[in-house]
Symmetry: C2
Subunit: 468 residues, 2 copies
């Protein structure tokens, strides 16, 4: 097609929140992708109409009236999900157009990514004749928990589904997509949209970025990207997106060898790492070094207010963690906050004599919820403090569920950004899970926490045009 004749970018609304879905390749055979997708629509409680399509269909499939062809349905269809062998996909595209579907997801693989350029060309030709937004091929498709829409064909018991929230995640790669989605569920922050777009034959990184930038339910965009086909348009999309909301990006194929692997994987032209880095920086993307960063940065942007200031108050009940926090703060271009005289007096009056009143503020292993509460109250009002790194080590006698409550309460005020560091296993995790579920971002180490705070502050400065 002559792309973007009318739209600046593909409208993915009907793909993400369809009122009716045709599953082409639906089957009772549980070994098939078409079965897994049908099962999903049942499991997530999709509220719209579901039309299973299978050339050999007779009667019902998985309890739904089945059709031999999408043309037999003769009712409005928002989304067609195509899960049939690669050689039959192109022909089906035309039928979808004739049935006037409003969006298509092709999950089928076996195109350019395995060297089958001929099939990919045929698909591109078929897509060039239609004006329907189409995602794929070679992808997982989409998930929108609000719309109870889910085209993923992975067994539901193997991958946790996130709750509804403000984080959207786009991934060229299905494996990165599904595993990070699984972790997002575990971290306790909610999902707005998930889009895995594979070979990007039509809908590509430009469309996805533009759509998520303008999606009112998306507060933060996480992005795993292997390559960009439309460079100029991507830059335009980036400029707009990063002014509207934070975009955290992990780029696959940053080494020459990795770029080669990316080409084989999603038929991506990865381009030079330096060129990407320069663009990412210039247009305010938040770049991560590893998959962990998607989660680390994602949760701070999802939950904490922005700030341009880099003066961090560190509260701790363990001295070593205070030392490591200080190192990590300065290593990431931040600084320790200096307390006002007023704060010093208030804290001196409130703390036992053994506690030194200085930054990092080490309240000793005896500290309890009351100590933290007092420190947060005093330093929360101190104009010299821009943000908090609160280290709460639950191995100590004074740290318990009251401390969890204190930290959640402070976080709910949204007074100043706060990240929490709690290193530990079973007892600790049972407490951090409560905080995570209540919108307090918790990290295993001061390093991860400082990196995340730095991401927040640097983005805030970019957005507000503050010189670093």
């Amino acid at each position: 097609m002559k792309r973007k004749e009318k739209l600046e970018y593909a409208d993915l609304t009907h793909i993400l929140s369809p009122k009716s879905v045709a599953v082409i390749g639906a089957t009772e055979n549980p070994a098939k992708v078409g079965h897994a997708i049908m099962q999903n629509y049942i499991d997530v409680g999709f509220q719209g109409s579901v039309y299973p399509i299978n050339i050999g269909a007779q009667g019902k499939i998985m309890g739904f009236q089945a059709y031999k062809s999408i043309l037999d349905v003769k009712k409005p269809i928002d989304l067609a999900v195509i899960a049939i062998p690669a050689e039959f996909v192109s022909a089906t595209i035309g039928q979808c157009a004739k049935a006037q579907v409003k969006g298509i997801v092709i999950v089928t693989s076996g195109f350019a990514e395995v060297g089958n350029q001929k099939l990919e060309n045929a698909l591109n030709k078929a897509l060039s004749k239609i004006k329907i937004p189409t995602i794929g091929p070679n992808c997982l498709g989409v998930m929108d928990p609000r719309a109870r829409n889910d085209t993923l064909f992975l067994p539901t018991y193997k991958i946790d589904r996130p709750k509804v929230g403000g984080v959207s995640f786009a991934s060229q790669s299905g494996s990165v997509g599904s595993s990070i989605l699984d972790l997002i569920s575990a971290e306790g922050f909610g999902l707005s949209k998930f889009i895995s777009y594979g070979n990007a034959s039509m809908v590509d990184e430009v469309d996805v970025l533009n759509y998520l930038a303008h999606d009112k339910d998306t507060k933060v965009i996480l992005y795993y990207l292997e390559g960009v086909k439309r460079g100029r348009q991507f830059i335009e999309a980036a400029k707009t997106a990063t002014k509207l909301k934070p975009v955290v990006i992990i780029k696959g194929g940053i080494t020459a060898q990795g770029a080669g692997a990316a080409h084989s994987h999603t038929a991506s032209l990865a381009g030079s790492h330096e060129a990407y880095e320069a663009v990412f920086k210039q247009y305010g993307f938040i770049t991560g070094d590893s998959l962990e960063d998607l989660l680390y940065f994602g949760k701070v942007f999802d939950t904490q207010p922005l700030t341009d200031g880099n003066r961090i108050a560190v509260l701790t009940n363990g001295g070593g963690h205070g030392v490591l926090a200080t190192d990590a703060i300065y290593a990431n271009g931040l600084a320790l906050a200096e307390m006002s005289k007023r704060s010093e007096r208030a804290l001196r009056a409130a703390m036992p004599p053994i506690v030194n009143i200085r930054m990092p503020f080490d309240m000793s292993g005896e500290a309890n919820a009351t100590s933290y509460s007092k420190a947060l109250e005093v330093l929360g009002d101190d104009p010299g403090v821009d943000a908090f790194m609160v280290i709460a080590l639950f191995q100590t006698p004074g740290a318990d569920e009251n401390l969890v409550t204190t930290l959640i309460k402070f976080s709910e005020q949204k007074k100043k950004p706060m990240v929490v560091v709690s290193t530990g296993s079973a007892y600790t995790k049972s407490h951090t899970a409560l905080m995570e579920a209540s919108g307090v971002p918790v990290y295993d180490s001061p390093t991860a926490a400082a990196r995340s705070l730095a991401a927040l502050i640097n983005y805030s400065r970019y957005k507000n045009g503050v010189e670093e």
Copy 2:
């Protein structure tokens, strides 16, 4: 004392595996440190004699015959654990000497670390008169699961205790010590010795490093260090230690501000970061960037054979992870392995046509235990492969408990080093826990896995004198 008159370094044997222990400050009051330590000896099933000492003692304390003074015991005492207020510690040291104890742990804090230099000086004076190895003050003390010895005064329900194993962990900081100990338990690798030595008034980093280097039960040393007081001797100890076994070190106080915090914390003189880095590199320490690295590197050294070769075979069931693995491998100075023609033929014959026979070896989301088993068999015998990074994403249909068994079996052969990457939550974690418990090091991301492989290979080259 004139230290080291007879010993090259302090002998910590009686401190770590005592046959009898006096707990000075033992009490029925559960709010006190002396109570927590007594409770530990009960909980861990210590097999030797326990003597509670309390100046107000009458009859029994927590079921054990109590004494007003250690001098009243009149039986051989290997270890005295001192948990009384700081102002009474110095006087007690002399009594311990008179009672001919063979080792002392002072857990009490309130000395130089809180600016109480006078008390610290008095303690140093008392210690100068004895020749008994003494750990502390301001520390957690020691744990030796083999000897069922445990002086930690943290509530046992708040911190998991590791099983018996080959990893020893030394930490100047109690908070870093206890939280990492907690994580070590969760990661499923076993502990040989834990030593937290705080202000290091007598036993210091040189003694600890020397002792662990020569301890036959210690296979890997993990070290959180804030400062070194005896530089020349530390370098001598390092030279010896790193020739015997891997030493993974995290240094607190690497920034000027962090060093200031370290001084306040354990009264450490942190010294210049550059000087430390140079020494660490020259003498074969494995340096980590964050607390996570202690665990990441610790488990690869604990379980995998060394290799000087850096040609890594990547097996994956997810393309995006293959791309990220390739990036991480080259970013860490490693390289992808090239398959022999023989391997290519064998794999071509064994794999479905959709699978490209090249590195990274992406067996697609359809891969199952049989695919992995075949690939490990073929490439395990390929002389062009030095080590494996096996990416096993359990969200895919083919990855299940059979794959876990396959990976454990290959790992048990100890043919070539292998690290596994599995990103995910509940279903994934239930499978990775089985692998971890069976000595397979598993990582959340290709980045962490590649860093750990690089640490293994770089140490191997240092040990074998191979030029990089």
